[in-house]
C-alpha cells in the first residue's frame, strides 16, 4: 500500500521463534533494541552473540545471528576467545546480574581490563530470574527473594553492587553507561546507548558495557507494569542512569 508507512515492526535482527520470557518481562524489550541496532549498523551478518546462563540462556534461538552459549558467568571470556581469532566480527554478550555481577564478575572485569573490543549487554533485574528468584548482588536492601526471605539485610548480605560505577574505574574500558527501558522515551535512550557502544566496537575503539535496569515481574511478584514502576521508584535511585565512562570523549571533538 502506498499510503501506509510502517513505523514499527518486529526487527529482522530477531528470529521468528516464540520468546520464552514470562509475559511482560523487559528482557524482551532489550532484545528488540539490541537486534534493531545490529540491523541498523548493518553488522548482523558478522555478529556473534553470546548467550549466558539465566533467563536469556535460550536467546541463541532469538537473535538472528551466529550465537554461542556460554557457561554461567563466562560470556566475556568466550567473547574474548572469539574476538581475538575473528577480529572482524562484532561480538556482544548478553548477561544477567547473577551471571555478570556474581559468578562472572572476574571475566567481565578482565575483558574490560584487557580492553577487549566487545560489547556487554548487562541486564540488571535485581534477582536471579531463571532459577526462581534468589538474591543477586544487585538485590536491593529490604528486597525479598527466595534466599533473602526477610528482605536483603545489609549486615549479613552486604550492600548491593553497582556494576557500572565499578567497571568505570577500569582503565582499559572505553564506554560504560546505565540505561532503563521503563517507558518509550527511555527505550529510545537505551537504544542510543547501544548504538554508541556497538559503533565504538565497530570502530575498534574498545570495551563497552551498557547496564540495563530491567524487571522480573514473576519473581518480584508484580504485574509487568507494576514491576516497571517499581524499578523506577526503587532501582533507579540506587542505580542512577547515565554515562559512567566515555574514553572517546576528547578524541571525538
Amino acid at each position: 500500500m502506498n499510503n501506509v508507512k510502517t513505523v514499527y515492526k518486529k526487527s529482522e535482527g530477531l528470529t521468528d521463534k516464540y520468546m520464552t520470557y514470562c509475559p511482560g518481562c523487559t528482557h524482551g524489550v532489550i532484545h528488540k533494541i539490541v537486534a534493531e541496532v545490529l540491523v541498523e549498523l548493518d553488522v548482523l551478518d558478522r555478529t556473534i552473540g553470546i548467550s549466558s546462563v539465566g533467563c536469556s540462556v535460550l536467546n541463541y534461538d532469538f537473535f538472528n545471528c551466529d550465537m554461542q552459549q556460554a557457561a554461567h558467568g563466562r560470556a566475556p571470556a568466550v567473547a574474548t576467545g572469539i574476538k581475538r581469532v575473528r577480529p572482524n566480527s562484532i561480538i556482544f554478550t548478553y548477561q544477567g546480574d547473577g551471571d555478570l555481577a556474581s559468578i562472572g564478575i572476574a571475566e567481565a572485569i578482565h575483558a574490560a581490563h584487557r580492553g577487549e573490543n566487545i560489547t556487554i549487554v548487562f541486564v540488571n533485574n535485581a534477582i536471579y530470574g531463571m532459577t526462581g528468584g534468589q538474591m543477586a548482588p544487585t538485590t536491593l536492601i529490604g528486597q525479598k527473594t527466595t534466599t533473602s526471605p526477610n528482605g536483603r539485610d545489609a549486615k549479613t548480605q552486604g550492600l548491593p553492587l553497582r556494576i557500572a560505577e565499578m567497571m568505570a574505574t577500569i582503565p582499559g574500558a572505553t564506554y560504560i553507561e546505565r540505561v532503563s527501558v521503563h517507558n518509550p522515551q527511555h527505550v529510545r535512550k537505551a537504544k542510543k546507548a547501544l548504538m554508541k557502544a556497538f559503533t565504538i566496537q565497530k570502530e575498534n575503539k574498545g570495551f563497552t558495557l551498557i547496564e540495563f535496569i530491567s524487571t522480573c515481574p514473576v519473581n518480584w511478584g508484580m504485574t509487568p507494569k507494576d514491576a516497571v514502576d517499581w524499578a523506577v521508584d526503587n532501582m533507579i535511585p540506587y542505580y542512577p542512569l547515565g554515562v559512567f565512562k566515555d574514553a572517546t570523549v576528547g578524541e571525538e571533538k
Partner: protein, 179 residues
C-alpha cells in the same frame, strides 16, 4: 487396600501442584505411603505444569507414573500429553471449561467438569483446582473431602484462613458435578 496413581496437569498458575500436594499431605496424615513428583524448571514457565501422586499402603517404589489410574486435566496440551498414558478403564477428569472439542479414548471413565465456570460462580477462578479435586475424590473415594479439608486448614493459616470456606465450597461443588 489403597493404591492410587494420579497425574494432575494444566497451565502454570492453575494450582495443579497444590492439588497433588494436598493428596500427599492427606495420605501422610493417614500414615499412608505417598510420593509427589512435579515437573520442574523453566519448562514450566508459561507452559504446562504437572505432578504425579502415588498413594499406597505398601512402599512406593517407582516415583514415575508410567500408567496412571487417574488423570486430572486442566488444559488442552495436558490432555494430549497424558491421555495416552491412562490405563484402560482409568478415570479421566476433564476441565471442560478450557478443554473442548477434543478426541477422547473410548476405554475410559470420563468425567467432564466445567471447573472454571463453577469456580467463577463461586466467586474465585482460583478454586477451579479444588472443584476438580472434589470431583476426583467423589469418584475415586481415595479420601473423603473432610480429610483433605483438615489438611487445608493446617496449611492455610493467618490471612489465608479466610480462603478455607470457599475451598470447601469448591470441593463440594466438584462432588456435585459428578454425582
Amino acid at each position: 487396600m489403597i493404591s492410587e496413581k494420579v497425574i494432575i496437569a494444566g497451565f502454570g498458575g492453575q494450582g495443579v501442584m497444590l492439588m497433588g500436594q494436598l493428596l500427599s499431605y492427606t495420605a501422610t496424615a493417614k500414615e499412608l505411603n505417598t510420593l509427589w513428583f512435579p515437573s520442574y524448571g523453566p519448562e514450566t514457565r508459561g507452559g504446562t505444569a504437572n505432578c504425579s501422586v502415588t498413594i499406597s499402603e505398601t512402599d512406593v517404589n517407582s516415583p514415575v507414573i508410567s500408567t496412571p489410574d487417574s488423570i486430572i486435566i486442566m488444559n488442552k496440551p495436558s490432555l494430549d500429553k497424558f491421555q495416552p498414558k491412562l490405563r484402560k478403564d482409568g478415570h479421566l477428569f476433564l476441565n471442560t471449561s478450557l478443554v473442548k472439542d477434543v478426541k477422547l479414548r473410548n476405554d475410559l471413565n470420563i468425567y467432564k467438569i466445567p471447573a472454571n465456570d463453577i469456580a467463577m460462580e463461586l466467586g474465585n477462578l482460583k478454586v477451579a483446582n479444588m472443584v476438580m479435586l472434589g470431583a476426583y475424590l467423589e469418584v475415586t473415594k481415595v479420601f473423603d473431602p473432610e480429610s483433605v479439608l483438615e489438611v487445608l486448614k493446617k496449611k492455610f493459616t493467618g490471612s489465608k484462613a479466610t480462603l478455607i470456606e470457599i475451598n470447601k465450597k469448591a470441593l463440594e461443588a466438584g462432588k456435585q458435578a459428578v454425582l
